[in-house]
Assembly symmetry: C2
Homo-oligomer: 407 residues x 2
């Protein structure tokens, strides 16, 4: 059977979800069946879950990214390097910065935007752990502050104060890397370690909310031993050019700091909101087949989507694990839709666990329902990281970019 006009499948975003969808689709669907286009801002994919390392400077950012053309079949998939500006779901068009694409089936996997909860000054003055650009900038910024310190007659200790907003997953993992990186910086720039302050401010009543309290305690103890100060149950009221203002109950305090990192949360994508899909903070509650309600031709996966965990009747947090699993289901369902035969497959999450790194040699988490800490957890974390590479690019990508401890 030959189509006069092949259906057009457009995948927006080459993050975990989009890249799994594309690499699966290029195998599932033949050249005759559909025209597949992948759109991404950069010509590379980056490991969002490794950015805390690139941001601290403990892993080179090039280790955390790879070229998209190295993992897709360019004979099967058109790759368009461009930025998505808007989605017109009525006309079935995607507006790009430098062009326009028509689609019959759309996969939206555009990832998240940072969520600043309206806290004044965060957008202007705080650094983020968001992408390759922001990661290498943050690494560089911290290093320049150390470099500048001994170049001024009057030493300004705020150059050596780093505030991390948020003790969630990203915040804790970033602190773990800082704990290893800061002593190196002190040596590099002849700075007394005692002058450095690393402060973590968390509004919630605990670090790593959702983690087992014993694991939280383990993580906090480890980081405190590395010199991290925790201000738990403390909210950032404002971020200024010279630091932050925090509040605990009625009391407010100013902390002078030249580096403020906002690691306290993400929301969905503004493109999704502007396109008019029903959403909650940029996340669309998709149907069981991962489709936008009322739009059977639009699949939404990853951080832009919202899926309820039936066990606790709350949304799954946006993770790489979920995004990749959604990508597998999404590819199958797009193929079914193109062929107009077969059954759409429902998505079910299969949470294998969650491990938060505490630096090179330590981690805490739960894997297959079992609590792990220390070197064992750290090893598992590396295996989880390597698995993400394996799923997209097979063993050769693991060899190229994988994490193996050098002995």
């Amino acid at each position: 059977m030959i189509f006069l006009r092949k259906p057009k499948v457009v995948v927006l975003g080459a993050g975990y979800g989009g890249l799994i969808t594309t690499t699966r689709l290029q195998k599932l669907v033949s050249l005759d069946e559909a025209e597949i286009t992948l759109v991404n801002k950069n010509d590379y994919h980056y490991e969002t879950t490794w950015l805390h390392e690139a941001s601290a400077g403990t892993l080179h950012h090039d280790r955390a990214r790879y070229l998209i053309k190295d993992v897709i079949n360019t004979n099967r998939v058109n790759f368009v390097q461009d930025t998505v500006v808007a989605i017109n779901k009525e006309e079935k068009k995607v507006q790009l910065e430098n062009g326009e694409l028509e689609y019959d089936y759309l996969v939206i996997s555009l990832g998240s935007n940072p969520e600043t909860f309206g806290i004044q000054g965060l957008k202007e003055y705080a650094f983020g752990i968001t992408n390759i650009n922001s990661a290498r900038l943050l690494r560089e910024h911290i290093e320049s502050e150390f470099a500048m310190y001994n170049n001024e007659e009057e030493k300004r200790d705020e150059r050596l104060t780093i505030v991390v907003g948020g003790a969630g997953f990203t915040g804790i993992e970033f602190l773990g890397e800082l704990g290893n990186r800061v002593p190196e910086l002190c040596k590099e720039y002849d700075v007394d370690f005692k002058k450095v302050r690393i402060i973590c401010v968390e509004a919630a009543p605990t670090a790593l909310p959702g983690f087992d309290p014993a694991l939280v305690e383990y993580a906090v103890n480890h980081l405190q031993a590395k010199g991290v100060e925790f201000m738990i149950g403390t909210a950032i009221k404002e971020c200024t050019k010279t630091g932050i203002i925090v509040a605990k109950g009625e009391e407010t305090e100013e902390i002078k700091a030249n580096t403020v990192v906002w690691a306290a949360g993400v929301r969905g994508n503004s493109i999704v909101e502007e396109a008019g899909f029903e959403n909650m903070r940029g996340r669309v509650k998709v149907d069981e087949f991962l489709r936008a309600p009322g739009h059977d031709d639009v699949f939404i996966i990853g951080d832009c989507s919202l899926v309820i965990n039936p066990e606790i009747d709350r949304p799954y947090p946006p993770t790489a694990q979920i995004a990749m699993q959604q990508g597998e289901t999404c590819a199958k369902n797009v193929a079914v839709a193109i062929r107009k035969q077969g059954q759409q497959a429902p998505f079910t999450a299969d949470i294998k666990g969650s491990v938060a790194s505490l630096g090179e040699d330590n981690a805490v988490g739960v894997v297959f329902g079992k609590k792990v800490v220390g070197k064992q957890a750290s090893f598992m974390k590396k295996m989880i990281d390597n698995r993400a590479l394996f799923m997209v690019g097979g063993p050769s990508l693991v060899m190229k970019k994988g994490k193996f401890k050098l002995i």
Copy 2:
């Protein structure tokens, strides 16, 4: 013969001159004969002539410094880590930031200060290639500008513009390193090399004044091929927060640049001026035995001293070569002075040559009266650098810090 009170010799500064003086003195003079004290701001010596590499980021700054205690005999020499504030030549005292020292014989080898010729804004806004602190700051600053470039919606090309003020020895050597470093930075931060500008502004009518015109042409051609733009016969009128204003004849032009490096000259030391020695821009025209006129107990060497080259009846430029040769003579003369027997030895410079590096693999210069360029000159430059290490610390220091091309 036993002194009731041993004469006190104080050496100020552990640069090329001071360190050669000290290492020679500790062998020449016995424990009974004198008490030797070396004062230096840092606990390390750095290779001033290698700072252009550390500043560009082509050589780690730790490769360009070593601990003073590793090259002096601490049984023979008291090392005081402190900053010289003032010299009181009448009371024969040196005031330090954290104390005071008395001397019977003083060696002033405090090096140079940058000379900005009263150009407005240079002190505030320009970077220098002056010491370890300024070198690692400059390296870091350039890198942060590249890191920032892709983090702004509106790209600001002035982040990628580097102005080097001065096409003298230091300016040219720094440009040579930048020529190699900038392509690396472009790759590191995904920056288009065509967006980068490296501009050298020189007020004199030629680059490398004093060098043979054929060598100057070779150097300029090499650097232009690496992307350096030269503005010769052009003066910097002002340095501002956003760049520089240059003038060529009547015309003025503003060049927007986030990095301005002032590499156009040094003067002697303000401490020497403030102490009331007769001086020309901080340099004291010493007698043939390297003593301050009218002060037989004060030796002045290195960049604080001024020695006339009889062949051209003009002062020798302040170089490491001269400073080290002065150190040898100075040590002998201090020993004579302590013993109050023997003859003061006159200083004669023995200029072996001068080679300006143009990066890892290229250089231009004159060695033993013979012009050299290219790989041969580059090899000689490395040998010159290694010789400075050898003279202070012998073969072990050369093995530790020497420059050998890795094949």
